[in-house]
Symmetry: C2
Subunit: 420 residues, 2 copies
């Protein structure tokens, strides 16, 4: 007897999390004998708690297919972490209440480290609260910080965006440096790990290519060494381009973005580490500068997504359903790298217990000795992840992204639940 | 008897100014009977003044063809404006000295308003200083502020980048707004005119689509009306995305970016109007915000260039050479719009005297009555300019842009010239 499935997107969205959703939904539709309807949580797990479910069976095959090329989270995502069963029993009991009411036997949760922790907890309600449910986590995070899996869907596309953008900006600055801007600084995401910043390094294939300097969260900011390198780079090549991670800290462990100048009221200056670094360059070296902060543009940039990333995102969604159908539980499909050159990969599996709350750091030997660049080992790891283009369809010059109808599943419960 | 030609790039570079160079060089090579070698100025007109010329005849046809898909200025550009002949006679005499030494009979100058003024002045040295030279200006500027021509190469591609990027970021914010960021602000170029900001409006095809608000330099910032609109938008749609031009001013005529908070020493806060607007939203409405500053990323984004823009950029370069061969002088080829739908255009000509120092403003009726959006007339004008994609070739996931050899022409003069 077929059971319904629950699927939800969690945490910061990416340009390919909908490709994973596409993989889940298209695969589930091929197995009506085992999986009835797939209900998506509106705004992630909050949709389950508030019985705000979306009936994906009412979406056309064309709409579901279009998810593959649509950035963002089509069902809404949320930043919400379930506490431990002991601390927050009411939430878990509510989940079971909703799952029972809608005959849900499969739980697919698409997110990063916190979300895999939630997946693990939900998988435990089977035995702890007596509600059997097949629970599969699906990886997603631009931060690339999940363990075991070779990479996380979302990361490859941000990496490609950053590498392409800093290459283009470097060409721009190179051609203007004689009489104008000599130093350009691009701020990228990565509060705790330098994976995204490191990807900028792929744009530089020769020593003279930009970016000439990368600032990582893993390396305490050394002001004098940094300024010396900027100055030497400008003197040697005429200009200097820099990728800086939002998470860079000073030797005291304070984010540079917060340690920057304060306003007249003593408030920390409005975000952005790029302007802080730019000001430092200006005041100490006197070079004309420009800076950019890519912010959400980087993680939403489906127009320049990595084909490798899109394929892995889809494959992991597909694998999640296949795992469930094969009777696996409390696992997360992973990307297993078979070789660097040519890049080969296959789908593997990790126990959620081994994934939850474990953060994959960037190895120190991926960062050059002086702390300002990436090593060959890092390049070998990163390179295949940005390979291939996967352009969305365009109409009138604009990418055609789908907005689903997201029809609500009629509520069956008379009880309300307030999410705290 | 064939004369040599001089070509230079001037002012801020774009993602398609090299496509214009490609049009100039490929066309000139087809007429060896009339045009000998094309010498490019290294770093623009400075290359002419310092006799720092590049022999483009030494570049392979493949390299020249690759210029069509390479952003930035391949020969180097500069920000340098020739003063009037009366004020700076030495510079003009130096130009003639260099032109004579290298048998240069054609002058092609590729730039914005200031550059067309320079082109006009150089065209006058023929009669005023007795050196006959055929002088053709070629339009280029992301600001889209040259008169007569329907649009300027470079603008269509920035317009496309901005429209695509704000559409993607809007999707991102829409899916996260329930529990996270509700207001997103993207800062774009355009210190004096709102053309680029207006292009963001193309991403919104329905009232609920982002961007919901555009802030133009043409409209004095009305803080209360702005905040009311942000609040109403968040209440109605759950989120609000905003495109803000770097040139937005407060009612006193001061750039918002400068009128923002000051640091502990009273210095104006480090650039960026986006963080100023974000802080206003936060302090007055309390909504969680994010902001991005695209800066050079927007004008260098060849990866998402408008095909229409690339074609016009090339066609104008080609037309410049054809004009010169037809004996025209002191003119600039233009884009003439024949119809909006379907979009049809042809090459026209404008006298440099009519172009120099005239700025094309955005018509007031392109901005909606409340000052926060674009009108149908504006949409009709802008839409065709972003149509079509023209992707560069990729290798290992990165666009393959060409760096020319830029072999120097041996100097013939024993004199030095110092550019002030």
């Amino acid at each position: 007897m077929a059971k319904n499935a629950f699927y939800a997107q969690s945490g910061g969205v990416t340009s390919v999390i909908n490709a994973t959703a596409c993989g889940v939904l298209e695969t589930a539709r091929q197995h009506p004998d085992k999986i009835g309807k797939v209900y998506a949580g509106r705004n992630g797990i909050i949709g389950a708690l508030t019985e705000d479910l979306i009936d994906t069976s009412l979406e056309s095959a064309a709409n579901i297919a279009a998810l593959r090329h649509t950035p963002s989270g089509a069902f809404g995502s949320c930043r919400f972490k379930l506490k431990d069963l002991e601390k927050s029993r009411a939430e878990y009991e509510r989940l079971i209440e909703v799952f029972k009411a809608h005959d849900i036997g499969y739980f697919f949760y698409n997110g990063g480290g916190d979300s895999q922790d939630t997946s693990l907890k939900v998988s435990q309600i089977g035995e702890k609260l007596g509600y059997p449910i097949t629970c599969i986590g699906i990886p997603k995070t631009v931060d690339n910080d999940l363990p075991i899996t070779d990479t996380c869907p979302g990361f490859g596309s941000v990496a490609k965006y950053v590498a392409v953008s800093i290459r283009e900006a470097s060409f721009d600055v190179m051609s203007m440096a004689k009489t104008s801007t000599k130093v350009f600084i691009m701020e990228v995401m990565g509060r705790h790990a330098g994976w995204i910043a490191a990807a900028g390094g792929l744009a530089a294939e020769k020593p003279e290519d930009g970016p000439h300097i990368i600032l990582f969260p893993e390396i305490a900011f050394n002001e004098e060494a940094f300024l010396a390198k900027v100055d030497a780079t400008v003197k040697q090549y005429g200009y200097c381009t820099i990728v800086v991670s939002e998470g860079v800290k000073n030797p005291e462990g304070v984010f540079l973005a917060e340690a920057g100048s304060r306003d007249a009221f003593g408030h920390a200056q409005l975000g952005g580490v790029a302007p802080v670094v730019a000001q430092l360059v200006k005041s100490r070296l006197g070079y004309k500068y420009h800076w950019a902060v890519a912010d959400y543009l980087q993680r939403a940039a489906r127009h320049i997504a990595s084909k490798t990333d899109v394929e892995q995102a889809y494959a992991l969604g597909k694998a999640a359903v296949e795992f469930a159908l094969a009777g696996k539980n409390a696992v997360m499909p992973t990307v297993v790298r078979l070789s660097d050159v040519p890049y080969k990969w296959e789908i593997g599996a990790a126990a959620l217990a081994d994934v939850a709350n474990v953060e994959k750091k960037m190895p120190r030997d991926y960062i050059s000795e002086d702390g300002f660049g990436i090593t060959e080992a890092c390049r070998r790891y990163l390179s295949p992840l940005i390979v291939g283009e996967d352009y969305p369809p365009y109409k009138n010059g604009l990418p055609q992204y789908v907005i689903l109808n997201n029809f609500a599943v009629p509520k069956k419960l008379s009880t309300e639940f307030t999410v705290k």
